[in-house]
Amino acid sequence: MSDSKSYKIRLEHITRVEGHGSIRIDTHQGKVEEVRLEIVEANRFFENFVKGMQPHEVVQTISRICGICCVGHQLAGLKAVEAAMGITVSDQTMRLRKMLNESQFLQSHSLHLYFLTLPDFFGAASILPLAQREPELVKRALALKKLANDYTAVLGGRALHPVANTVNGWRKLPDLGKVEEIYTRLLQSVPEMEAMLELIKTLKVPEYERETEYVSLKHPDEYALYDGEVCGSDIDTTVPVGDYRQVSNEFTVAHSTSKWSRWHRDSYMVGALARVNNNFQQLHPKAQEAAAELGLKSPCFNPYHNNTAQMVEIVHCTHNSLAMLADLLNDGLVEEEATYQPVAGRGCGAIEVPRGILFHEYGFDANGRCLDANAIIPTSQNINNIEQDMKAFVPLMLPVMSQDELALKMEMLLRAYDPCISCSVHMLDVKFV
């Protein structure tokens, strides 16, 4: 006898996410027996094979962990190796890096929100049928994504794995004429972005809540994307970046080649929603307005609203970048020497990347050769929390949804976290001697 509520769902190699993950749900007579998020990505062992490299080589290599967050890996890597070498970068370099980081937020959030997430809300398998049904929408989304890529390329030399930025500065400074073009285009894009905001407002977000711990950087003076200390929503103080292992507490499970993390609870969440929850008051006023229009109130415990929080951050990064670009055009650029003397040392760096907080740590010998490396990636911190969400939501969804609908809601949940699974399969626990 078949029971409509006894079934096995196997969603292998989930589409429209970065990297390889599978969802497994077993139910029997209306009861949930097993819910698993399997991460099946092959290992690449980055932290072991960068040993022996020089600081700038480590940084250019480590960006290959991920195409989508290559800028974030470079910047976290640069901060860590500079801490190890005792380098303090110039104000100009810091400002250029902040812009580079925001360009990646615009690129990554646009790609995820407009191309990977939207099809679910239109009942489409991908952006392809949408290109025929909604050509104006797709063209607008492509133009916004292209602008973000060009913004990265003008600063970094190219959009993927930029080469112009390096340890202690810039190999080749951006062309101010091109910077001005980006400024003008970004200014002109504001109505286009607002049109996307209007669309996102109409999307019906699944109403499932589960409070968890929200972890992000926090900075006294700004919405923390480039700098700050580690903030967890379960504690009142912040933790210095150097103590990041106290935060991530990584462990290994057999069904995931990505490691798992937990802090004060069974799991925690990083990313746009965690940042908006922890630092709402520091968002650009326009972004706070956008959040109100989108109905996003901090704190929000619905993980599907990570998409909404990404839209809020697109507004934030657009307006914040306009201000930074205007300052840059006003102040101009001066040539600076991007050289350094390799020394023995150890350093940590943390930065917010589109998918959440990213930690890097490196040790170097007296010749500046890498001795050990550690990278703790946002998705590896989120994977545990995604599985906990699934375990909480499946029993609630089971009585009220068809099997297909449940499967779609689980895929949408995974996608809402914007996981970057290639990234997440490189964790390393180093034993420091």
């Binding site: 290992n43 991920c66 991908s126 063209k139 993927l160 930029p162 462990f251 069904h255």
Partner: protein
């Protein structure tokens, strides 16, 4: 009928598929010419046979090999997309360390020993060696570089769609670098792979003030011996020479070996 085109990724940063999505101006025009049947990073549609299959990433485990055999058997033309697929790229450097040691360094000995004997999930934990796609199946065309060049991708696709043979001239990176009138990296006192590396990238890294590390692989006639000698004469010690060769070229014949 429009040709069926599919994209598959193995161990990689997925940046080469992203580089394609970054061809925003041409994307809709490309999509009008082909039927995109699989592209896991961006779409959910799937199909059985492919006229052109693009493979991103390197091949590490038994299950990856089986998946690649299956794709090859269903594809008329198979293209290695990007450096990871063409020569194993940066992760091939892990081939100089035994897999058990790599697992130990990343997960710790205890966890490695636990997950590798897990009754259900052991196949996930069977990394043996980083291999380029051509080391496992026949590859018809290579799109080199980390990341791949969108212009070369468009050239290849247009050629295949119109029945012409695509052309990827085996010129050194130096050729394009000179055209761009960059100051020679050697004149800046630094070692460069431009003379022996496969061009076609417009010397993009040198244009941005960097140098060439040969991510597009070695030219078929590359004089590796002379290049090593040149680096030695510049006073670069053997460990550093070995390190440079093992950034992007660990799996290239002649390049992975240390020669004194």
């Amino acid at each position: 009928m429009k040709p069926k085109v599919a994209f598959f990724d193995f161990a990689s940063c997925e940046g080469c598929q992203l580089a394609l999505l970054n061809c925003e101006d041409d994307l809709l025009a490309i999509l009008a010419q082909v039927e995109l049947v699989e592209f896991r990073e961006a779409i959910s549609e799937q199909a059985g046979r492919y006229d052109i299959a693009f493979i991103e990433g390197s091949i590490h485990r038994e299950q990856d090999i089986e998946r690649l055999y299956d794709i090859r058997s269903r594809s008329k033309v198979l293209v290695a997309l990007g450096a990871c697929a063409c020569n194993g790229n940066v992760q091939a450097r892990s081939n100089f360390v035994a897999p058990a040691e790599n697992y130990k360094a990343v997960y710790g000995e205890e966890d490695r020993n636990r997950v590798q004997v897990d009754g259900e999930y052991w196949p996930l934990w069977t990394h043996t060696r980083v291999r380029a796609v051509h080391e496992v199946v026949k590859v018809d065309y290579q799109l080199r570089g980390c990341p791949m060049q969108p212009t070369e991708f468009l050239h290849l696709l247009k050629s295949l769609l119109t029945g012409r043979e695509p052309s990827f001239p085996a010129n050194a990176v130096c050729v394009e670098c000179k055209k761009n009138e960059n100051e020679c990296v050697y004149d800046r006192g630094l070692a460069c792979f431009g003379p022996i590396a496969f061009g076609g990238c417009d010397a993009i890294c040198i244009n941005s003030g960097h140098l060439c590390d040969g991510c597009r692989g070695l030219l078929p006639y590359a004089n590796v011996k002379a290049h090593r000698q040149l680096l030695k004469e510049m006073g670069i010690d053997i460990t550093s020479v070995q390190n440079r060769y093992r950034l992007h070229l660990s799996n290239e014949p002649d390049a992975g070996e240390v020669r004194r």
